[in-house]
Assembly symmetry: C3
């Protein structure tokens, strides 16, 4: 993948504070994998297991850790954290396209909204009454920013994001296409006539440096707020129900659903396809394996799992039949124990 301009290896090393070994003037204009990089591209080695691939790479330079410092003769950047170094270097090579500040003529901005002159509002966007749009914000085409919403500086809304009224998005946060923030939580009371809607009068408050993937939904609180703290990263198609709190720097993979009023701690790592029931407290530093279900609060950091890897179908059917038959088998086992006990006594 080619960048719009080239940099010297020295310039790139400065992006991550790495040490250059070899020709610091090497020109780099793109990135590639060890296997497919072409001359002019930079690659990276984050795991010594792939040293063999390193030997065959056609890249012009490589980022690697101190333990692999001498594993190549290519010009290189040595960094204690080569993957983080790659992230910063790639950000230098591929900066987000500059948005030209201004409001597109087709956007509909309520006269009472405060839009920074340094913000960019795209075609067919709508900004409601009393909304506040900070400097450097980009509101993509077709976004709907509700009444009294606050988008702090440098927030980026990709196309077709909806932020319901009264929600607040912290600085530098990124929301991908199709995200819905602040829809009503799923709250209702039952009476003889059917279900009665409970007005959802809380908000969604999102901290700084949060990233939210495409088509993810975060519901507004029933009475108090739903809160996504700073540095949280949510993948695509995640559902966060009303009144949840997700702690700072926690990451959640795609297709996971968190039920209402559950609080997840800081620095957690939640896999994809996970479910959490409501009203739980998950402490800091918890890892949940993909496709697992959490039904109780967790007070100890560690890894929690209930996922079952598949087997060839016939084999799984046998496992399943045995699982279903367990109550009978444990009964038989008890009978055997008693028999043996009796036999032994009789002898």
């Amino acid at each position: 993948m080619e960048a719009t301009r080239s940099y010297s290896l020295q310039e790139l090393a400065e992006a991550c504070g790495g040490e250059v070994v070899g020709d610091a003037h090497t020109r780099i204009q793109g990135v590639g994998t060890l296997e497919h990089a072409v001359p002019g591209e930079l690659t990276f080695l984050t795991n010594s297991l792939y040293r063999d691939q390193l030997l065959g790479t056609r890249a012009s330079a490589v980022i690697l850790g101190p333990e692999d410092r001498n594993a190549t003769t290519l010009p290189r950047i040595v960094s204690a954290n080569p993957y983080a170094c790659y992230a910063r270097v790639a950000q230098r090579l591929f900066p987000l396209p500059e948005a030209v500040p201004g409001v597109h003529s087709s956007a509909v901005i309520d006269p009472s909204a405060q839009v920074s002159p340094a913000a960019t509002i795209g075609p067919h966007a709508t900004v409601g009454a009393g909304a506040v749009i900070g400097s450097g914000v980009v509101v993509g085409p077709g976004c709907v920013v509700g009444e009294r919403v606050v988008l702090e500086n440098d927030v980026r809304l990709y196309p077709r994001v909806v932020v319901y009224p009264d929600c607040r998005i912290g600085p530098r946060s990124i929301l991908h296409a199709g995200v819905v923030i602040g829809a009503d939580g799923f709250g209702m009371a039952r009476d003889a006539e059917g279900w009665i809607k409970i007005p959802q009068v809380g908000r969604v408050i999102i901290g700084a440096d949060v990233e939210i993937g495409a088509n993810t939904t975060v519901d507004r609180g029933a009475i108090e707020d739903t809160v996504i703290e700073e540095g949280v990263k949510l993948d695509n198609q995640i559902q966060i129900a009303h009144n949840c709190r997700v702690g700072a720097h926690t990451v959640i993979a795609g297709c996971t659903g968190i039920s209402g009023s559950t609080r997840i701690g800081r620095n957690c790592r939640i896999g994809g396809g996970v479910g959490m029931v409501g009203h739980l407290d998950i402490c800091d530093g918890v890892t949940v394996s993909g496709f697992s279900l959490i039904t109780k609060s967790i007070t100890q950091p560690g890894v929690y799992t209930s996922s079952i890897p598949s087997q060839p179908h016939r084999q799984w059917m046998e496992t399943l039949a045995n699982l279903r038959a367990l109550p009978q088998w444990t009964q038989k086992l008890k009978t055997l124990e008693q028999k043996l006990e009796k036999n032994t006594k009789e002898e």
Copy 2:
């Protein structure tokens, strides 16, 4: 959370037919939880277990059940169903913002569409040929209402809802942002050349008082219609496949997927992250626990479950290894039984 105006406790009690005990003139301008309510706010107690919190609340009044009538000296509303009472009171305090009828100048309305003068069509909405939009309907910004769609009175479409052609939404139904109604069902036939698309010529018919959460999808029928009956409540990111029928007043929590041609009865409660295979009949009054899988029709009301709560990872790995080894263990158990049988005979 503060409402735009205050009400007397008496006025609010009338919203739910509750009995006022204490000062009926108490002014209420908001709602709060037992724990966080501030003076001027109303709170509620739906479970006597929280009586302790009731003692510490700073709320100005409380809704509670007859069994807790004397659990506080605060002004209060006594109701046989305090949660439903709270729902109605909160609706009084926080009515939906009034929409000003009219069509936004940026909306694109086909000349053959019939739009009630008492309907509101937001910016950048599109209404197709032959569509019928009833009185009190609100079509939010960026919605796309297809050809010949009928939105009955007081339907509310939040921003960016898409309703494909020929579908019908019943009165007072609410569709949240990103909902897609009437996309093609997943139907195709295989021949030597690959998959051949089967035209999906049915519709989606949605009854009265239905609510559908953000980014939920309901596919149109292959030949006949997909039907969501009155009073159904669907949470976010649910997928309802073609030809399904969801019975009146059934509620389904987030991230659940219902496969094609499955019929769910009335007054069911389906948890989040549930899967149902296709062509099933689920009778009225069934509850499915979150994260469970339904593979057969259900003819008896009751609770059905197959979800597995997580354990600490190492412990789960042991459970899993044992599960996989079950066929061997049951074999060993049989051998033991035979041995013991033989021993006993020999004696």
Copy 3:
């Protein structure tokens, strides 16, 4: 369901190369199920088990296989593959509505985009700089086509589809409402300050004749491309992570999530609600049962499963308790074996 015009049975048989038995002039103006078809409609029998329903049908004609050739006296189309024949006949009866070429006045097209005069761009659509829109393409209302995107001939984007910059969609592919193609993959590196975003500089490349269901998301590659090969059919609300490759003619049902860098072969059939972890290789011809989890690469075609059907709740709780107790039971079984061994020796 009624079509806009009628056809003779002969004309319809030609759509699928079937043989007409009985009156070839029979007029057909719609399709119906065996059970609910009315006169003037065509129905089909794909499974001899439903022969009884065939006897009662009110349809004017029927499509069936050679083995059922004489199971009715109705005019009929006999086809070796009656379901594929039905698909082609229904396509004849219900062609997609013709789109009138041209750009709607409310659409915003960058002057550097190349839009075929035979393409249709709907209201409130946005087409970015350098995009290329082929002949016969339909871009629905509110779609956002990013910079340098290529939509090959006859692509159809339903309303509110977002295609991020640089992605490419093959000819005749259909993307349903709410689809997001090319959002950033979920890639970040950790350092002391938190998570650092890794720029996602690959693209999404979609082949010919692909169909993608409502609100499905396909992320762009981190460095190389995410690829969906020709003839793939994706249902609603699927998540395909960065760097995946889905092989030609593979079908995936709703709510399934595929983690990053996993490669799925050709002609696979992946059920709904399935999860796959990242970096796997799934060979051609694999079937995965709905609600199963794939954690390892698969090298043999066949069916793979790990889903657990639900039971009545109390019964399942007993199964679950037994599952949890397995380590103890296997221990007890070992003890018994040893005891019995000892007893036997002592005798």
